[in-house]
């Protein structure tokens, strides 16, 4: 099956292609990219006049709640939301139920995606320690052989630094990336909002910056000690951006992402205890938000993720501190990202790189590229389509958005995975 996409505006995260062009897709790959005058022939043709073509998005942190929490979401529902919204690759943290600490769970996820998935790639991130309990190492080499693309202890920081050091050494020895969400469990405590004037006024148990930065400082030191290639996820503080920037300048093998909602929301948005704004790490201050944006621009922050955490209605239908944290983010990832271009924070190809090429490179995945020979995971986006965010119309099973009523422009018209159209508006 061959597919020709004509007259599309090429958005190449690597910056090699630009302007209007034609793409020929064959055997699951981009077989050729050329100017519009170049004549290709194919079984099917899509005329993408006026639309952008770019690699499908690679979301380096999305919870699908599968296996274990069908009331929140499952692979079928969330891969459908992904392809509808231009995400062709999803990286799943290991805190499923049971956690991804054994090959059976990895196989189960792959099997479910084959059976029920809507064609997005789903890549499990394995548990760094068994049961995420921070005591014994997981069988990383076997897990890697079964398809785990990296290892992480998700939101269960290791209490024991010696175990963490050994886990990082072992993962590095297996050639695997370590993914860390820096959190100090004691400083986090029962906190649910950024420590500052808002939490003080609302009487919400506070989460200081040090809950992230104290852990991050230790983690960076362990990277320096072990040399383990490490990716830091979902950063939220200005000081974290600064620490990552300095660590990178020293040449440490470090990369970082932040959840896209952190670039738009602050603790002010909690308003009157809006539980949809309860996230961990918490929505922080304006200064933190600005620093994250700066870090994104200067490359300190390599990629953006949805940090997708779908919930059933009841999980949020509680007073703020008792609600479950997290935002359902697949349906708004691209819309928010394109806003950053509208706000002139980054040119479109550079922004797209933060959601395609960069995470794919960090995680050593094939997608995320617009070049001959690359996997044909692509999306066509109508930049002029305007839409209003309504949780009711989310494809994700989780309707817990923090962006209800927001205006977005740019809408996916086609999602192509392995050279086949898997979604068409």
């Amino acid at each position: 099956m061959s597919l020709l996409i004509r007259n599309a505006l090429l958005v190449d995260p690597a910056g090699r292609h630009s302007g209007k062009g034609n793409l020929l897709l064959q055997k699951g790959e981009i077989s050729a990219i050329g100017s519009t005058r170049k004549r290709f022939s194919a079984r099917r043709t899509i005329d993408a006049q006026g639309a952008w073509i770019m690699p499908g998005l690679v979301d380096c942190q999305a919870r699908l709640r599968d296996p274990g929490q069908p009331e929140k979401a499952n692979i079928e529902s969330e891969t459908a939301a992904a392809v509808r919204n231009g995400i062709t690759t999803l990286c799943v943290p290991p805190d499923t139920q049971p956690p991804i600490d054994n090959s059976a769970t990895v196989e189960l996820i792959h099997h479910r995606n084959e059976m029920f998935g809507q064609r997005a790639h789903v890549h499990p991130i394995g548990a760094l320690t068994r049961g995420l309990e921070g005591e014994q190492l997981s069988n990383m080499a076997s897990l890697r052989a079964n398809g785990c693309i990296a290892f992480s202890n998700a939101r269960h920081p290791l209490a024991n630094n010696l175990v963490q050091r050994r886990a990082m050494d072992y993962a590095a020895g297996c050639g695997s990336l370590v993914v860390i969400q820096p959190l100090d469990p004691d400083l986090l405590g029962n906190g649910c909002a950024h420590e500052g004037a808002i939490a003080t006024r609302l009487g919400l148990p506070a989460i200081p910056e040090a809950a992230e930065t104290a852990a991050l400082a230790k983690d960076i030191e362990l990277v320096a000690q072990t040399g383990a290639r490490t990716h830091f996820g979902q950063l939220s503080c200005a000081r974290s951006v600064d620490m990552i920037r300095r660590a990178k300048a020293k040449g440490l093998p470090i990369t970082a992402d932040c959840a896209i909602h952190q670039l738009f929301l602050t603790d002010h948005d909690i308003g009157l205890f809006d539980s949809n704004k309860f996230t961990i790490p918490p929505l922080r201050s304006q200064a933190d938000r600005d620093a994250l944006r700066e870090g994104l621009v200067d490359g300190t922050i390599d990629c953006l993720c949805s940090d997708h955490q779908p919930h059933e209605v009841d999980a949020k239908l509680k007073p703020f501190p008792s609600a479950e944290p997290g935002i359902s983010g697949l349906d708004t990832l691209l819309g928010l990202a394109l806003r950053l271009v509208d706000e002139k924070l980054l040119p479109l190809p550079e922004l797209v790189a933060k959601l395609t090429l960069n995470p794919a490179t960090i995680l050593d995945l094939p997608g995320g590229r617009l070049e001959a020979g690359a996997d044909a995971d692509l999306i066509i986006v109508d930049p002029d389509a305007h839409w209003i965010c309504r949780a009711d119309s989310f494809v994700s099973k989780g309707k817990n958005t923090a962006f209800e009523g927001w205006d977005f422009s740019g809408s996916v018209t086609h999602t192509i995975v392995g050279g086949e159209v898997v979604y068409q508006a």
């Binding site: 420590e195 500052g196 004037a197 939490a199 003080t200 006024r201 609302l202 009487g203 919400l204 148990p205 506070a206 200081p208 308003g271 009157l272 205890f273 009841d314 239908l317 509680k318 007073p319 703020f320 501190p321 008792s322």
Partner: protein
């Protein structure tokens, strides 16, 4: 939704009573004036007025409390309401019933007003956002957020003794960090244009950016008490020692315990308040507690009048006839 939209109806009347924040000076003054008219009721032999006759008030306490619950019960009874008191921590929610299920089951009993205490900050707003139209929520304490009736009875006590807030210096001493009472007091004092509101506490018990609440922060009790007209002592919860917030009760008393000697720093006519129950010898010396400047027992009796005032303003139909026949 701004706070005021939830608490006040279109004509600016009180619909729910959730937090002092979002209210205005006129409402606070109305509460104090209305409470004035009720203090006479509590002094009479027949202590009842028919303002809430035929109405049903449900006390819904997710956190154990005897004193506050009793004053709400008494207030509702004196307004002739039917009253239903539930300690929820021991009943439904343990069985897995959600908060909203509990609320809706009770609503089916035609409750007109819920008086709710819950351990989560924001729970009063949560309930107010989910009750049926026409059903009122009165916050009897939500987490560390607000305890507005306590604050109003404190304002009533202050006004009773000092009349004009605009010339007062008020010091709130103790565990500000965990105190819903302090937060509500600070908002109320500022809405009533108090000249200066101070908080006095060790650094571990002062919330971050406390100045943004509109207070001056003191970490030294002697300095904090200098020339104040009102001293409000807060109760020190024993569990604070366990969280490494304080070394010991003894050391706390040494730094922040209110003694006669320290009270002498305040103005000679200063009054001493405490929302109770007080820990004698921890935050306050017995001689001060029982001394001539203490108005602590008065606070308790004013509490009933203030709660009657708030309840009647929310649920009472037409204007108040506090002096009406029982």
């Amino acid at each position: 939704m701004p706070d005021s939209d939830l608490q006040l109806d279109e004509s600016g009347k009180l619909r729910h009573f959730l937090s002092i924040e979002g209210l205005n000076q006129a409402i606070l003054s109305e509460i104090l004036d209305t409470a004035d008219s009720f203090t006479s009721v509590t002094d009479r032999t027949i202590k009842k007025v028919p303002i809430l006759r035929g109405k049903t008030v449900a006390n819904l306490f997710f956190e154990a409390s005897t004193r506050t619950r009793s004053t709400f019960e008494l207030a509702a009874q004196r307004l002739s309401a039917d009253i239903l008191s539930l300690n929820v921590d021991t009943s439904a929610t343990v069985k897995g019933e959600s908060l909203l299920d509990t609320l809706q089951n009770l609503e089916a009993m035609q409750i007109d007003m819920f008086v709710i205490r819950h351990q989560d900050s924001g729970s009063a707003h949560f309930f107010a956002q989910h009750v049926r139209p026409g059903v009122a929520v009165l916050n009897a304490g939500d987490g560390q957020h607000a305890h507005p009736t306590q604050a109003m009875l404190d304002m009533y006590t202050i006004r009773h003794h000092k009349h004009d807030f605009t010339r007062l210096r008020v010091a709130i001493v103790g565990d500000i960090l965990h105190s819903r009472v302090a937060r509500s007091q600070i908002h109320a004092l500022n809405l009533l244009n108090t000249a200066e509101v101070r908080i006095v506490a060790p650094r571990t018990l002062i919330p971050v950016d406390a100045e943004a609440l509109g207070v001056r922060v003191f970490e030294d009790l002697e300095a904090g008490l200098e020339d104040v007209d009102v001293v409000i002592m807060l109760r020190l919860q024993r569990e604070r020692m366990r969280g490494a917030l304080l070394p010991s009760e003894k050391e706390y008393f040494r730094r922040f315990g209110l003694s006669q000697e320290r009270l002498a720093r305040a103005r000679p006519d200063a009054i001493v308040m405490h929302p109770g129950p007080a820990n004698r010898g921890v935050e306050i010396e017995s001689s001060v507690m029982d001394g001539s400047q203490s108005v602590i027992l008065q606070q308790v009796s004013f509490g009933i009048a203030v709660r009657m005032a708030v309840m009647s303003m929310i649920v009472g139909q037409s204007g108040l006839q506090a002096g009406g026949d029982a």
